[in-house]
Amino acid sequence: MSSLHATRVRRGRSASRHCLRAALGLLLGALGCSGSGDSGDPLIVEDTLTSPVCTPVAGDFPSGLALSGSAPDRAALVQFQPPAVAILDLREERPRILALQGIPPDSDADGVDDAQRSAQAGFFPLNPLLGEIATAEHGLLLLSASNYEEILFVDEQSGALVGLRVANAASGGAADPSHYPLLPPAGEVHVRSAVSTRACVFPQGALDSGGEAVEPEVGCDPARPGFFSNLTAGKSIAAGHLFVATSNLRNSGESRFYPGSVLVYDWQSDAAGLRVQPDRETPVIATSGFNPTGVVTHRTHSGREVVLVTVSGAIGASTGARNVYSDAAVDVIDPLRLRVAARIPLGRAGPSFDRMAIDRGGRVGILGASSQRQLYAVDLAALENPLLYEGDGDPVILDGLSAGFPDARIFHADVPLVLPDRSDGPPDLHCEGFTHAALNAAGSLILATDQCDGSLTRIRLDLSGSPPIPLPRARFEVLRMDEITAPLTPAGLGLIRAPGALRVRSGEPGLDFEGPDAFFLVGLPDAQVCALRVESPL
């Protein structure tokens, strides 16, 4: 009995020791056992159709849509997350995605991941947040990216990034190369897929939109007030220059903006291809107000190129007229002399951030509104006067009070073009407006989406004869309002709603193309791009 017990005890002790050793081994094994979830099937998130005329894309609120300049059946869409550019086929009732190119972690191809590069330069570790996209020359698309702050070069056919020669500011010029910390070192030319728009700006005005003094930025010049540009917005090419608006947000909680700026780059083509670098003499143009957003190049009847910059003004995070904190304007930049030649004041309009829509004849420019259900319009015939572009004085204010210059304003904050209200739309207190506008190819019809109401309004534009400047408001006639999505009300939860940027194909519907003629982006409940037949017959 005692022998049996002793044997059991010995075996027990031995087993116990083995178990403890095994436990120790397991402990060590367990600590190093973790996986990253990549052994099974990929984590594929399926996006399925919820509308016969809309195509879902990943993420929420796609940020840009550009119709191709060279291929009439193609468009490029900017997907916010994962960051990518999708090439769309527009021939069917809903746009189809032909190809999609992701933006790599080293988006500007400088050899270092953006976040790392950003941190090396003393900023937060930042990645690009994609914004507006616009067609440029040479089959290129220009894609704005905030956060990392850059303009990406995108191939119009494939959506892939394209390398251009990028250089820093020339030494001895108005800008110091150190003011562009993410551009190549001074004197070097690198092939990159983006040009950095992170630049030191030294404003003429010393106050931000909240009336607070602008302090010196240590990374720029500790001796004079300045800041690094941010919120890269619209861009356009004119007269051998690339113009990029930067909204320069200072404090989002308080909706305060640093003075607005337009960065100017030389955009030159030679035998080796395109080359981009900050302009030697005028690298930055100060805008007349806060928060410049949309940028578009307009050619006058006399062949002069001008750059029209929408100055949206300081805008809060709410809705309605009270959401607009400062005045808006359209700044007219002379790309040859790199100065603001004229300004079209719009008052407390708070125009939306898309670039100005211009009719084919170049007479009227239309802007949406960020906080109200209305549109604004300017008469571009007022820019024909060559006297605007002479001298070095202050910009001419085209409000009818400047001697010898007409009033370029048709609809502005005091006299807006109000869009019809949808009866089942949200109360204005919750949501009002955020409109986007486009014109048909003939220039006879203005289309406007309203994000809150989910509506599309058609407005007839009569440019017949030789109308005076400014174009009489009677030339605009609201024809009808269609409910193209659900409104932003609780009842619309789950339905397609929040229409945004709107584009209309060039050419005559039914003749030059068979498919839908209008396309708009949708932000909720998922990101979508939708097609619409406005004038195009079924």
Binding site: G12, C33, G37, D38, S107, G253, L493, G494
Partner: protein, 672 residues
């Protein structure tokens, strides 16, 4: 002495406090009033996932999960609950990261969670973060599916969960455990119960720490044209995900007069990083590397109970409770904004009384029970200001048995008044029919409601997010029916349980956070929605060596205005568990959990893929090996190793919140 009318379920839930109490009705109570005899189902015990009704409400569907049934498996509370039918645990990360509960397709705020019978879910935000509750401190978890508003009041739309902490039981006993695992995660606990003179006390502590960072696979989006879009790089590392947690329980009880006086306290503290969502391109994946949060909660109650202590519904009980919750969130360097330092505190003071109400006219036919409840919530926040709310309720329920105790009817009524949301009367009816030996049929018609949380009402206007003081309360009506079967065969060598239920719920004015304009998110009342589904669960025990349990849930939901499903929960979920081994010597556990595709957008067009996750654990009780130190000194000494997600599949319950792949932990658990 055990009363003859007590069911096995009631014995298992002995000591469980009732929610609705009747302070004003104490004078009406006649202790020892005659109660009608009740049915006496066969008492059997099946370890592992327990299915079948062992709840205070004899007609409700649900189960009691005993944490000791899962000893040495290193499970969390979320793990335990996710094994219940009808319950979906939505996790927002790995160990220590938040996880929340959905029952029958509900939101987290639509589940009433209590600790020792006192509501523990946050009056600030609704719901409870399961990761804050340390399982070793919990003795059992009572899960009731379906509307529980008559007992619990606001919030019990999807169901109720009561967490019962380890309590003093008059004996000297101790237990401790410690474990370490992947992601530099450590957890240890200690519990001591003892009798000192005439006082019993129980003291528990649990500590948790994790470095928390893990690599994860990022989603690939596939559109209707077959084009895939993926993040670059396709994998990233969860950052700023460390966490430290401490939790403690204290229970003290002694006899006082004709009854028993008991004090319970639960204290929890948690601090760690707030990485936020996985959203964007780049290695950092849009995560916040600097934001931190810290919160702590204390839940204290004192109650005196007289009468039949083993049955909550037969005891006379009065009690007071206090809940305190403090939250702090800091982000020292938000972009384009001033440093954020949010502090919120909420405090709740409550009183309750309950007991049998032997009205002579009714007592001849039924056992009537009444309760009164008062709660006063007060929130203090620098950003949202001061807000308070008073809630009171009267609850009545009766139990009538007939047809030789084969039929049990439980009509109930709650009259609830919530400051700012008026009075509502909630009549309910439950039925239980014993059809055959071991087979019971159950049906319930239960209303429910939820008044908005303080956060939903008063979240400060931060520009991009704000509360909505105009919100209405959510209202719901649920019907469920099904059966329960429990039998033992072959001289108890084979034990079998099976439960199946169908449920149908209409809900109005659901509160959902939505984008109300292009820049602002706010909660709004949405229209009607309907949820229906089927739950089945079986459990088999064979010769006390092999235990198998299986559960499956099918769920369908539809928002009336759009015809689209409700997002956030899978349409189907299955769970299989096999446990093999002689009790108290060793055990080998294998589990497989299938979770169907999860709709992650309100539009009904975007789904996370379904997945099957395999887990396994093995444990050995060294104290069962004779002649060892452990066998001499300890009642139990388990060494265990546990593997989660053996297949290392990518798992997400919410699109922007990654969960870890394969992980493991080892540890010991000792009882003496």
């Amino acid at each position: 002495m055990e009363r003859p009318h007590l069911s096995a379920a009631q014995r298992l839930t002995a000591g469980m406090p009732a929610r609705p109490l009747a302070l004003g009705m104490l004078i009406l109570v006649l202790p020892g009033a005659a109660l009608p005899a009740a049915s006496q189902p066969e008492e059997i015990r099946v370890e592992g996932t327990r299915v079948g009704n062992e709840l205070p409400d004899p007609t409700a569907f649900g189960e009691v999960l005993l944490s000791d049934d899962f000893e040495a498996e290193r499970k969390s509370l979320a793990d335990l609950l996710s094994e219940s039918p009808g319950v979906f645990v939505r996790r927002f990360g790995g160990p220590g990261d938040p996880s929340e509960l959905s029952i029958r397709g509900s939101s987290a705020a639509q589940v009433a969670v209590s600790i020792n019978g006192v509501r523990a879910d946050s009056a600030l935000r609704g719901g409870i973060d399961l990761s804050r509750i340390c399982l070793p401190l919990i003795e059992r978890v009572e899960v009731q599916r379906g509307g529980g508003a008559v007992r619990e009041g606001s919030g019990a739309v999807g169901g109720t969960v009561n967490l019962v902490t380890r309590a003093p039981d008059g004996r000297d006993s101790s237990r401790a455990d410690f474990g370490a695992g992947s992601f530099e995660t450590y957890q240890g606990s200690f519990f001591r119960s003892q009798r000192l003179a005439e006082i019993d006390y129980a003291l528990g502590y649990c500590g948790f720490g994790t470095q928390g960072d893990f690599r994860f696979t990022r989603p690939v989006f596939r559109g209707p044209d077959g084009v895939e879009s993926l993040f670059s790089p396709p994998q990233a590392r969860r950052i700023n995900n460390d966490r430290v947690q401490h939790a403690g329980t204290l229970g003290i009880q002694r006899e006082l007069g004709a009854g028993n006086l008991r004090f319970d306290d639960f204290l929890g503290y948690s601090a760690g990083g707030e990485p936020g969502i996985d959203c964007c391109g780049g290695e950092q994946a849009g995560q916040n590397a600097r934001a931190r949060n810290r919160d702590w909660v204390n839940l204290a109650q004192i109650r005196w109970r007289a009468g039949d202590f083993t049955s909550a519904d037969d005891a006379l009980e009065i009690g007071l409770h206090h809940r305190y919750e403090a939250l702090r969130f800091r982000d020292p360097q938000p972009r384009f904004d001033d440093p954020v330092d949010l502090r919120q505190q909420i405090s709740t003071l409550g009183a309750r009384a309950a007991g049998p109400l032997p009205l002579p006219l009714i007592a001849r036919y039924a056992n009537l029970h009444a309760g009164l409840d008062f709660e006063w919530d007060a929130m203090e926040s620098r950003e949202a200001g001061h807000h308070s709310r008073l809630v009171s309720a009267l609850a009545l329920d009766a139990r009538w048995e007939g047809f030789e105790q084969r039929l049990l009817l439980v009509p109930a009524l709650r009259v609830d008044w919530s400051q700012g949301f008026g009075v509502r009367a909630l009549p309910a009816l439950g039925i239980r029919v014993q059809a055959l030996t071991g087979l019971s049929l159950l049906a319930n018609l239960t209303p429910a409601f939820r008044i908005p949380s303080f956060d939903e009402l008063f979240h400060p206007d931060e520009g991009f997010v704000r509360g909505n003081p105009d919100l209405e309360a959510e209202e719901a009506l649920e019907f469920d029916a099904g059966f329960e079967y429990r039998r033992a065969f072959l001289k108890r060598q084979l034990e079998l349980r099976a439960v199946a239920s169908y449920f149908y719920r209409d809900i109005e004015d659901s509160i959902v956070w939505v984008q109300i304009n292009d820049r602002t998110v706010a909660p709004v009342n949405t229209g009607e929605a309907r949820v229906r589904g089927v739950e089945i669960a079986t459990s088999i025990g064979l010769v006390n060596r092999l235990r198998v349990s299986f559960q499956h849930t099918e769920l369908r939901s539809r928002r009336k205005a759009t015809g689209r499903s409700l997002p956030g929960v899978p349409e189907r979920e299955s769970f299989l568990r096999l446990e093999w081994g002689p009790p108290d010597l060793w055990k080998l556990v294998g589990e497989a959990q299938y979770t169907g595709p999860i709709l992650v957008s309100e539009g009904g067009g975007r789904r996370l893929p379904g997945r099957t996750v395999w887990n396994a654990s093995v444990a050995l009780n060294l104290a069962a090996i004779p002649g060892t130190f452990f066998s001499r000194e300890l009642a139990r000494f388990w060494l265990s190793v546990d593997f989660q997600n053996l297949g290392d599949v990518a798992v997400r319950d919410a699109l922007a919140f990654p969960q870890p792949g394969r992980s493991a932990s080892v540890g010991f658990e000792a009882h003496w």
